[in-house]
Symmetry: C2
Subunit: 275 residues, 2 copies
Amino acid sequence: MRTCGNSGCGGNLAVDFTKEEIRKSDCGHSRGKLAVVGMGPGDPDQMSLRAYKVLQEADVIIGYKTYIDLLGELVKGKEIVSSGMKREIERSRIAIEMAAEGKYVAVVSSGDPGIYGMAGITLELVEKQGMGNKFDVEIVPGITSANAAASSLGAALMHDFAVISLSDLLTPWELIEKRLELAAQADFVTVLYNPVSKKRTEQIRTAREIFLKHKSPATPVGIVRNAKRGGEEITRTDLEHFLEYPIDMFTVVLIGNSQTYNTENFMLTPRGYKV
Amino acid sequence: MRTCGNSGCGGNLAVDFTKEEIRKSDCGHSRGKLAVVGMGPGDPDQMSLRAYKVLQEADVIIGYKTYIDLLGELVKGKEIVSSGMKREIERSRIAIEMAAEGKYVAVVSSGDPGIYGMAGITLELVEKQGMGNKFDVEIVPGITSANAAASSLGAALMHDFAVISLSDLLTPWELIEKRLELAAQADFVTVLYNPVSKKRTEQIRTAREIFLKHKSPATPVGIVRNAKRGGEEITRTDLEHFLEYPIDMFTVVLIGNSQTYNTENFMLTPRGYKV
C-alpha cells in the first residue's frame, strides 16, 4: 500500500487505495513533483531557504542515509527512503516512480546537486523514461564545496577557476589527467573534488606532479576538510608540501593561480584591483 | 557623529560620542566584526540561513545600491552605506574602518562573494592595512550564477568545469583568450560570466570562435538571464546559433562538454552512469 504521505493529506490513509486510485484523488497536489535539493555543506545554516521550504512541503524525502540523518527534525514525520552509498541510480528510480504516482518527492544531495550530485542521474532517468512532462521538476541549487572551502580559506577563488574530480570511477583517468594538465597551463585556480579515497591514493600524487610541471612549488594550496560544517579543518600550505597533510573524501584541495598568496590569516587570489 | 547603530544598542545614541569613546564603550560587542555576505542570485529564497542571520545581527549593511534595495525589510532600520557600481574599493575601505571601530559590519555581494565578488578586494585591503587581527572576519558563501543557471537548465554542469569572466576591465584579454582556448581543449563544461556589456560586445564573438575550433557547432549552449530570480529567461541552443539570442550583463552563458545534450525539457551533462 502507498499512501499520500503525511504532508497536507491528513496523515496516513486507513483505506488500502490502489496506486491508480491515489493518483486520481486530489490529495493536496494531484500532479506529482520531483525536487532535487542541494543541502549545501551539511550545516543546516548554509542551506538556502528554498531548500528548507521544499523539504518542509515534500511528502517523501529520498537520500543517502548519512545526509538524511543530518536533516534531523526537518524531515521528522515524513516518508523517508534512504539507502547507502553508490545507490544513486536506485534512489533516482524510486523518486521518479513516486513522483509519477502524484507525490511531492525531494531527493536530497549534499552541496549543489548539480555538481557531481543527484541532479544529473535523476534527470537522465526522467528523460530516458519519458517522464519529463508527467510531473513538475525543480533543481534547488546549493553551496558546493569549492565555494564553501574558498570562503573558509579567505578569498581563494576570486578569479577564473576549474573544478576537477579525481575520481575515475565514472570517468577515464586519461581524461582527468588531460584536464589537470590544461587547467595548470591555463593558470586556473583549480579545485580538486574527491581527491583521495581509501582505495584511490595515487591520483593526488599524479595531480601534484602535473601541476609542478607548470607552476612554482611555492604556489599556495588550501586543504579544507568538512568545509563550513562541524569539524572543519583548514590547512594553508603550498604545492611542494601539501601531501604532508591528511587528505580524504571529506576534503577539497584548492590550488591557487600564479597570483594567489597566503597571508597570516587568509589565502587570497587578487582579481586585479590596484590597492 | 558615529553611533553604535540600532542593533542591540537601544537605537541611535543622542549624545555626540567621538569615535574613541564609542570604541571604548561596550556596545553589545566591543570587538568589531566584518562579514562579507553572499546574497545568492537575488531572490531572498535562494540565500542561505547564515546570510540571513548575519544581515539580521549586523549594525551596518554596506553594498551596491541595487543589491541593498533587493534586501527590503531585512535591512530596515539598519545603518546603510550604499554606493554605485565600480565603487568596490571605497565600500571595502569604509567597511574596514567601521569594523575597526567595533561595529558589526556586513558587506553584501551578489552570488557568492568569493566568485568575482566583494570577498577578494575586502580581504586584500584588510591585509594591506594590517587589520587581520583587529576584528573578526567571516566570508558567508552564496549560490553563484554558474550553479543557479545550471539548475535552471536542468543538470548542465555535472562534470568537470571551468568558470571564466569575459570582462577585461581587470584582466588582460590575452590571458582570458588563453584560458578559453585551454578550457575548450580540456572539454570542460565552461561557464562565461560577464559575457557582454554595453561597451564590450566583441569578446563573446571571439569566445565562440575559439570554442568552434575545438568543439562541434552542435555543442549545447544554455543562456540564462536573471538565473533563479525574478524575470528569469532560459534559452537552450547550440554553439553555432547562440549569438542570435540576447546576451547582457545579467546573463551567464554555459557551453556544454562533448557529452552534454539538450532534451525537450533539460540541458544535461551525464556524469558517466550506465542508464
